[in-house]
């Protein structure tokens, strides 16, 4: 069990989200329960493509947006 002081905090869809240091985008997707197939990922306004999610590490203070297609006209 890691101490809270060892955790980093990111902003996920506008909410604070603690993460273990070194967590990747895929780690985050697993935490929130997304298979990642139908989610667009932006880190600090930059799109992270599926092939880069396993290696892209999140940093303290990163602003992460997870977006899906929902109903709209």
């Amino acid at each position: 069990m890691k101490e809270m002081s060892q955790m980093i905090t990111i902003e996920l869809n506008g909410q604070q989200q603690p993460l273990s240091p070194g967590s990747t985008v895929n780690d985050l997707l697993a935490i929130v329960g997304s298979d990642g197939k139908s989610v667009a990922v932006l880190v600090n306004d930059r799109i992270i493509r599926p092939e880069n999610r396993a290696t892209h590490q999140l940093q303290e203070g990163n602003r992460v947006e997870l977006l899906i297609f929902a109903g709209g006209g």
Binding site: N13, S34, I68, F69, G72
Partner: protein, 258 residues
């Protein structure tokens, strides 16, 4: 074969469906199937782990013959719409983008300046741009000139059910346009969709009228039939209107012979 041509894409259905306001995803998906629509618009929203059923990408992609046309709703500037288009394309792989920029939630009227700028940028980048606009013939022509795949003027305000309140302007846009004109927003009844097609629209986009109907799937079918009938009538050629009666039966050489 009479098809709707948008860029290099062809569609046999001329009914485009919106996916908002349905009571749940199952009802929406049933209506999409019943409509026979091949082009369906969706919106970008934040992922919510408590509402996984909101995610429509998988279920819609599973319907055979469906092409997604993401929209940029929520954007209030051209820059936001361009950003939304890039994200949507990343997610869907579809070249279609419905540019929808309405900064005022009270009336939801599209911002012509931001819409033009976003459409210009996205068309240049290779998107098949489908801008939602007021029924403005000048703007429609300018959007054609910058390479949009269609123009989508409103029949009346989004979700209002006021029908073809802009029909005078729509007629001018249709007459002047070299790209497909698609009425988007405001339609309430299948007869209005048929009328839009008879006027020469290439397609109609319907959402609320189907989504909030008592039986959405049945209404989707009704719209599909109306759109097909309106298109057929347009192609068949409507008779000219006359200011006075024109007899359909012979009025002479009858009584005098008795």
């Amino acid at each position: 074969m009479d098809v709707l041509q948008l860029g290099s894409y062809t569609f046999s259905s001329r009914l485009i469906l919106g996916t908002g306001k349905f009571s749940n995803s199952r009802v929406m998906l049933d209506a999409v199937r019943a409509s026979g629509a091949q082009l369906v618009t969706v919106a970008l929203r934040r992922f919510n782990r408590e509402q996984l059923e909101d995610d429509l990408f998988g279920p819609l992609s599973a319907i055979e013959g469906i092409t997604l046309m993401p929209n940029t709703s929520g954007a209030s500037t051209a820059a936001e719409a361009v950003r939304a288009a890039h994200i949507a394309c990343e997610l869907s792989g579809s070249p279609f983008i419905k540019v929808e920029i309405h900064p005022n939630p009270q009336h939801l009227m599209p911002d012509p300046i931001e819409t033009f700028e976003a459409s210009r940028i996205l068309a240049k980048e290779g998107f098949l741009v489908m801008p939602y606009i007021a029924a403005d013939p000048v703007l429609a022509k300018r959007l054609e000139e910058v390479g949009c795949a269609s123009v989508m003027p409103l029949g009346s305000a989004i979700g209002s059910g006021q029908g073809l309140a802009t029909s005078e302007m729509l007629n001018i846009i249709i007459r002047e346009s070299g790209i497909p004109v698609i009425v988007d927003a405001g339609l309430r009844s299948p007869s209005e969709a048929a009328l839009a097609m008879e006027m020469g629209c290439e397609a109609v986009l319907v959402n609320s009228a189907i989504a909030v109907a008592g039986n959405p799937s049945e209404m989707a079918e009704a719209f599909a039939e109306a759109v097909a009938a309106g298109r057929k009538a347009f192609r068949a050629g409507l008779m000219q209107k006359s200011g006075s009666a024109v007899a359909t039966s012979p009025l002479t050489s009858f009584l005098g012979t008795l």
